[in-house]
Subunit: 191 residues, 4 copies
């Protein structure tokens, strides 16, 4: 079966780890502009749902999925396996866990464990010219710090949106509106 | 203590009955334009949170809270009691449960049990000249039917909004964004 | 005619000054919990729409409307006059324009001209015990700074929401959904 | 330059025709699951922004862009030309303009001129087994009718979301939040 972006949430194994929802993955990956062969680093990979889709887009490229929760690492392995996606789980927390990784075309930051500035500083160094860095923020503080950091880097052009998705759920013959939490997507593209 | 609209959600006794959230109550009551002495009918009253606030605004007026779930009726009683609000719970389902009620200045419709057209037909008859009818809709079908019905009544001027509220929750030193479900508020004012 | 919160936007004279929309005024005023006789300071009052509604709620109280744009001051005068609202326009920018004002029960901050920290510092001093301070933010930076400041004050309990309102506009027999910009409302209540 | 979904809005020539915004195109195209060689019909193509992206995804496939406004047809031509996208503009209104078109893998409905039921009836006939039909709705009525129609067709599995995107615009050193109108995306996949 051909891969299309936005794999249904229920096809991922989840456990107790929060997962980036399909609609957000679609928007993040659009901003990541992954090309075949690209090297991708996914920081705070969670269940690996985004890493898996990144790997399916990068083809023969490499995707490094950094996650500090052991349960997450196991889920990443399982989800990568079921989609035959070339994802390398890296157990540990950024920025330390970034050491030894190659230069990347795309860096995705979905979790920062309170070390966003240090992670962004490292990520900036790791990003290839022309590379894309996409931060997803679910807190005001992550949003504000990501904007402040990225705007201060002259090599980046930054575009930010808040995506608020409501899903309609069929109940009898009615369609109920059920909100997902809003997510800010901060996309920086290096010259 | 003086009453101010938008009583905190956690001050109501809730059980398993869905409750209109404080921000939505605030917007609905603004559209209801309750005056002291007004007669109010709250259809699908749930926990009675809206009925209680309506009663506190109508003062010496009367608020009839129609609810078909016995658990709801009990919650309405308890919530009315703790706020010393003059709310009369009416066990049953509209439109039948509307029989025998007096003409109303304000009719609130938060639940219709699939009988929205019949309820609106009755409510229209019960509404005094100059009265306000406010429907809250959490499904596409309720929204569409309420709009179709109310727009077809020449005596009504109708204003509709969708309110999407996100609450910020403090987690450590961050503020996480947590969405409430969007609610459509259809407010009709009779000539 | 009795006053009800949420005066229709088109009843205010606007000019080129941005105006807080009716639904936001409703939510802000709910959080402001104005009592008859309250002293209110509205910083960045714009067209005065919020000041006017505050004055109608405070009755014999006083509302000071600080605005640095001369056009705004003129609009505040006109809007106060047409609603017979006791609003005193104060031409100038906060925090300087706050000098000489009395202690307040409620302080509303809708504009800060880049001096939010200084304004909050002054506002905190001016606020009576039990007073309410409500900041509306349309930028990430105002939101983050207001949260950081208010959370650091032990006397405040802070509640924050983002309100995203969509209005439905009738076009032929259809109802089009038209978004207003999202607004963050940060409400702090002093012990 | 490699094509990535979500071409920036300002790269399209627009005139006075409403354009589907980049974020919505991204979400619609994700649901459309276009494969190389697919035949796509875009009904109510507007400026052709969605047709162009569909053509870039379908590669050697065919994209038919139906639009009743002459200005739209001209914009579709220009936009297709500048992206070297194989889009065939068809001047006219659906369902009539659908006559003579081949079976399609994907049908996109962005405008219906009040004839949604007739268009959906024809579209259903034109859709190949396994095909995808995606309706975007900006009115309550289009949303409700699309849901009612598509739910009644046993061959379709339907998923619907409302996407509300807020863009952040840099003003001095602040980021202002500016809402785009919410869009409902109704995606039906045929067995």
């Amino acid at each position: 079966m051909t891969y299309h972006v936005g794999i249904s949430d229920d096809r991922f194994i989840r456990g107790n780890i929060p997962m980036t929802k399909a609609e957000i993955r679609i928007l993040v990956l659009a901003r990541a502009k992954i090309n075949p062969g690209d090297t991708v680093i996914d920081i705070g990979a969670g269940t690996g749902s985004l890493s898996v889709e990144a790997a399916l887009q990068s083809g023969y490229g490499e995707v490094y999925a950094i996650e500090r929760e052991p349960e997450g690492i196991e889920l990443i392995r399982q989800n990568a396996a079921q989609f035959a996606a070339a994802v390398r789980p890296i157990a540990g927390a950024a920025p330390q866990a970034l050491q030894g990784l190659p230069q990347a075309d795309v860096i995705l930051i979905g979790g920062s464990g309170g070390k966003l500035d240090a992670i962004l500083t490292e990520a900036r160094q790791l990003l290839k010219p022309g590379g894309r860095l996409v931060v997803t923020a679910v807190t005001v503080e992550t949003l504000q710090r990501a904007l402040a950091f990225l705007d201060s880097c002259p090599e980046f052009s930054v575009e930010t949106i808040c995506a608020q998705v409501t899903r309609l759920r069929k109940v009898a013959s009615s369609h109920m509106m059920q909100a997902l939490n809003p997510i800010y997507i901060i996309a920086a593209e290096a010259e």
